[in-house]
Symmetry: C2
Subunit: 219 residues, 2 copies
Amino acid sequence: MDGSVRIGILGTGVVGQTIGGKLVELGHDVKLGSRTATNEKAAKWVAQNGARASQGTFADAASFGEMVFNCTSGTVSLEALRSAGSTNLAGKVLVDVANPLEFSRGMPPTLSVSNSDSLGEQIQREFPDAKVVKTLNTMNAGVMVDPSSVPGEHDVFICGNDVDAKSRVRELLRSFGWRNIIDLGDISAARGAEMVLPIWLRLMATLKTATFNFHIARG
Amino acid sequence: MDGSVRIGILGTGVVGQTIGGKLVELGHDVKLGSRTATNEKAAKWVAQNGARASQGTFADAASFGEMVFNCTSGTVSLEALRSAGSTNLAGKVLVDVANPLEFSRGMPPTLSVSNSDSLGEQIQREFPDAKVVKTLNTMNAGVMVDPSSVPGEHDVFICGNDVDAKSRVRELLRSFGWRNIIDLGDISAARGAEMVLPIWLRLMATLKTATFNFHIARG
């Protein structure tokens, strides 16, 4: 993307703050959205990130952004997006980074939607005028914005129905430092991307670190 | 494993034939098992693989093997294992390579069990005296027995409840040429290993080859 873009981020957790911080660093204007306009975590993030950083409600952030990131917990994403409002999302690229991890049934978490459907598809169905692009959900937040934190070749997956929207997200990913971007096709590929979470969680436990990533080795 | 081992393989498809062929090549005695003792595909495989190769029913193969491989289609694995017989599997290492891919509901296939359970766990629950080790299910048959067919570093996952059984399978994997073997823990990790199939299928379509594999890049 040439120059500065206004970006709305839904969600004030580690993923939203980390992606938001990186976007500000890259010269974009970022509004972090949450349930209320006076979220403490968001206020702290705004104070740390300077003049290009602001906060507001989900609707404020979605309205502000030319591009919107869904960084909420997957089990509450649809509710957050409804609160953001379909008119505020219409025609925009909606980057879905969320995972539908259900922790309420004990450990290990399961996926609240999977196999024959996915969160990415649910969002696209409910917000048909948004251009949903699923990406970055298969790694830790730190790796999302700094691929060089994991040595060697490794990959980020991308999928969505709108080719132009995927190009724009690809460009943003390149500005984060990504070189290996694998396009899995339409938004139904979100099933596969979300279903790697169970092995990701096992790998984190086995490797005792979250600083790792998938690479597809091939000829 | 020192010297020759008797191995029973359940399933006469590409996976069973490919693993069976490799095991014969490594000097083991292999019996390929199917529903009948006179399976045409198995007969052809026996003719191609020489004196150490034989065929029989599922029960014949399980009874013959000191170690048994489940290479049947995942949706019929439990039925095949019942036919093999729990007494023929008791005390043995049962290497589960199958994926519960359900093709009957149209494309893309879904998993007939996933998320809060897995085929590996179902098998271990129904055959508690077998030592189930899930491995090799995350790649194409050719890559399973010839990791060097994919250039660069890439990995095979292993999981199961019995530490000694995993050591023996690890040794067998090393004899196939595997160097990067990642132990995901107990058999419940089969959920994660089986749930990578949807992204694997998407990657095959995108990359237009099945000769690729997952690598976990890390520091």
